[in-house]
């Protein structure tokens, strides 16, 4: 079952629990799990965050059975179907609220601008997950019953009492049989069960890729900006150095230095500036990443490898040398007589 894959869909609407049976009968479906997913911090959606916002979800025993990404506990135990007011917390959310196994936490977290009808419940933490560096770190996993209870509490006041929250789910996770094309399966589910909309994995992957592309563009733009500023700084420093040392260049030429000697000396100097800047920047980066990794409870987000170190410093040296090329050529071509008599 190692290659069983999931095809999940949480569209934000509701569906009836009985829909799961109809999905289960679609060809290629291995298992279907009910999914109830809600935000753990209502009212904080407008806050811009790079990470996954904290969420509450029902614990799905099928997950560890079929998903390639296994969840495991750092301590405590899993919640069961019969659990009531018990929660397993992801590593980030546990650290965020400073709770350990045995502590309690009120879920959902009461926002500062809570509506009059806001309801939450005090859950006992029975387990804390090991860090995964992905979404589950921000999750609070409760039993399906409790997730539905929270979902019911979040319904508009007018709707409460009119629907049975324990028949409602916000989505379903579909596990496919090995070898089944997930996009085709999603299409089959959509035609067989018109009341649901199965999301194709390729759509999710593409969305992730485009999100990644934006991030890549941002970091590349920042790197290019640093490159231009750094390069221009070296050019400026070296041009000033050349104009301040005109007589020195004249003297060196008079006593026998040839064009390539002067060129080499100034290039070496520019590369040295690059090296000093590179090492300083690297050390600063090292301190920053260490601090950031230390402040992140789920472990190291930034990895500094020897290869990266060599690349960063090597690049800085090369940048210095390239930026120093123009000033060095200018120095090397100087007429010794004029240079010697320069004021």
């Amino acid at each position: 079952m190692a290659d069983a894959n999931s095809s999940s869909g949480f569209g934000g609407g509701y569906m009836d629990l009985s829909t799961l049976d109809r999905i289960q009968r679609v060809q290629g479906v291995l298992a279907v799990s009910p999914g109830v997913y809600d935000t753990a911090k209502p009212g904080s959606a407008s806050v811009v965050s790079m990470g996954v916002p904290d969420f509450i979800a029902n614990f799905d025993p099928n997950w560890n059975r079929y998903s390639p990404l296994k969840l495991s506990l750092a301590g405590g135990r899993w919640v069961g179907d019969a659990s009531r007011l018990e929660v397993d917390l992801g590593s980030s959310i546990a650290a965020e609220f400073h709770v350990r196994v045995g502590d309690t936490i009120a879920l959902p977290v009461r926002p500062s601008d809570a509506q009059p009808g806001f309801v939450n419940h005090r859950f006992t933490v029975v387990g804390i997950l090991k860090p995964t560096l992905t979404a589950p770190d921000s999750g609070a996993y409760v039993s399906l019953h409790d997730a539905q209870m929270i979902e019911g509490d979040s319904l508009p006041t007018a709707l409460r009492g009119q629907v049975d929250p324990y028949q409602l789910i916000t989505g379903a996770v579909v596990y496919a049989q090995p070898g089944v094309n997930l996009d085709s399966l999603a299409t089959r589910i959509n035609s067989a069960v018109p009341t649901v909309e199965a999301t194709k994995p390729s759509t999710l992957v593409n969305a992730f890729k485009s999100g990644g592309a934006v991030f890549t563009v941002m970091t590349t733009a920042a790197a290019l900006l640093a490159l231009v500023i750094g390069g221009l700084s070296v050019v400026n420093t070296m041009l000033m150095s050349v104009s301040e040392r005109v007589r020195e260049i004249g003297l060196k030429k008079a006593i026998g230095a040839r064009t390539h000697h002067i060129l080499r000396e100034f290039l070496a100097e520019a590369a040295l500036i690059g090296l000093i800047g590179g090492v300083a920047g690297y050390l600063l980066g090292l301190v920053l990443t260490t601090l950031l990794n230390g402040s992140n409870p789920s472990g190291g987000l930034f990895l500094v490898t020897p290869g990266l170190t060599a690349l960063a410093i090597g690049f800085a040296v090369a940048l210095g040398a390239v930026a120093g090329l123009l000033p060095a050529i200018r120095a090397a071509r100087m007429d010794p007589v004029r240079a010697l008599r320069a004021q």
């Binding site: 020195e248 060196k252 008079a254 006593i255 026998g256 230095a257 040839r258 010794p336």
Partner: protein
């Protein structure tokens, strides 16, 4: 064979669309071991002649022969090599590198001539001792007096064992007493190691202590006289006749 031979040396500049004849067909020979002074008013062409003789500048016409080699035929690379192996320069403003010690300044020319560094260092030590700077080798120029700095510069001009040392007003930045001392030092080196000196100066008293006084006027060779007894009244008289 003369150390230096200038043949019809001519240098014209164009300045503000006017042709300036800085040097006009100067012909002269400096023999090996001579100590010659070049005198003349400002603008007479003294420095231009020195720049051409030092292979820092190419003449408009005429030839510069160094130890018999016609330097006009050489490319920049060969001229730079000749400068580092055959010519020593002493400048009015010393031109020592402020970040280097006295010893490092003396060794600087060897960086470009590819000479053996260890042998060069020994020679630099000997030279600095001869200059009376044995205790000052590790000092930077800012920690030395004007006279001491110029002695470092003289040692630097000699490190490559040149056949010709060119000085452009080498005593111009120091007081009379120091100038006398520097001149005595150069004369002693000239006597002991037979290095040829060609020194530009505007100080007639100092020029009178040379073997020979070359007088330039408006870019032309005006007079070229040997001094029978350098530094004596006769020498000064010879100079007076020139002036």
């Amino acid at each position: 064979m003369p150390t230096l031979r200038l043949e019809g040396l001519t240098k014209h500049y164009v300045r503000a669309s006017q042709v300036v004849r800085a040097l006009d067909a100067v012909t002269l020979e400096i023999e090996q071991g001579e100590f010659a002074a070049v005198v003349g008013r400002s603008g007479s062409g003294k420095t231009t002649m020195l720049d051409c003789a030092g292979l820092l500048m190419r003449p408009t016409a005429g030839r510069v022969l160094l130890d018999g080699v016609d330097t006009g035929r050489l490319g920049e690379r060969e001229r730079a090599e000749l400068r580092s192996r055959r010519i020593g320069f002493i400048f009015q403003e010393f031109n020592l590198l402020p970040t280097l010690s006295a010893m490092e300044n003396v060794l600087l020319p060897l960086r470009y001539s590819g000479a053996d560094h260890r042998a060069g260092r020994r020679r630099a030590e000997v030279l600095l001792e001869e200059m009376g700077l044995a205790e000052r080798m590790g000092h930077r120029p800012a920690e030395l007096s004007g006279g001491q700095q110029q002695r470092v510069a003289i040692a630097r001009s000699l490190i490559g064992e040149p056949t010709l040392v060119l000085g452009d007003e080498p005593m111009g930045e120091v007081d009379t007493e120091t100038a006398e001392m520097l001149l005595s030092l150069m004369r002693r080196i000239n006597r002991e190691s037979r290095v040829t000196f060609l020194i530009v100066t505007h100080d007639l008293d100092l020029a009178a202590r040379a073997d020979r006084i070359i007088h330039l006027r408006d870019g032309r060779l005006d007079a070229d006289q040997r001094v029978e007894r350098p530094g004596t009244r006769a020498g000064v008289a010879a100079l007076a006749a020139v002036g």
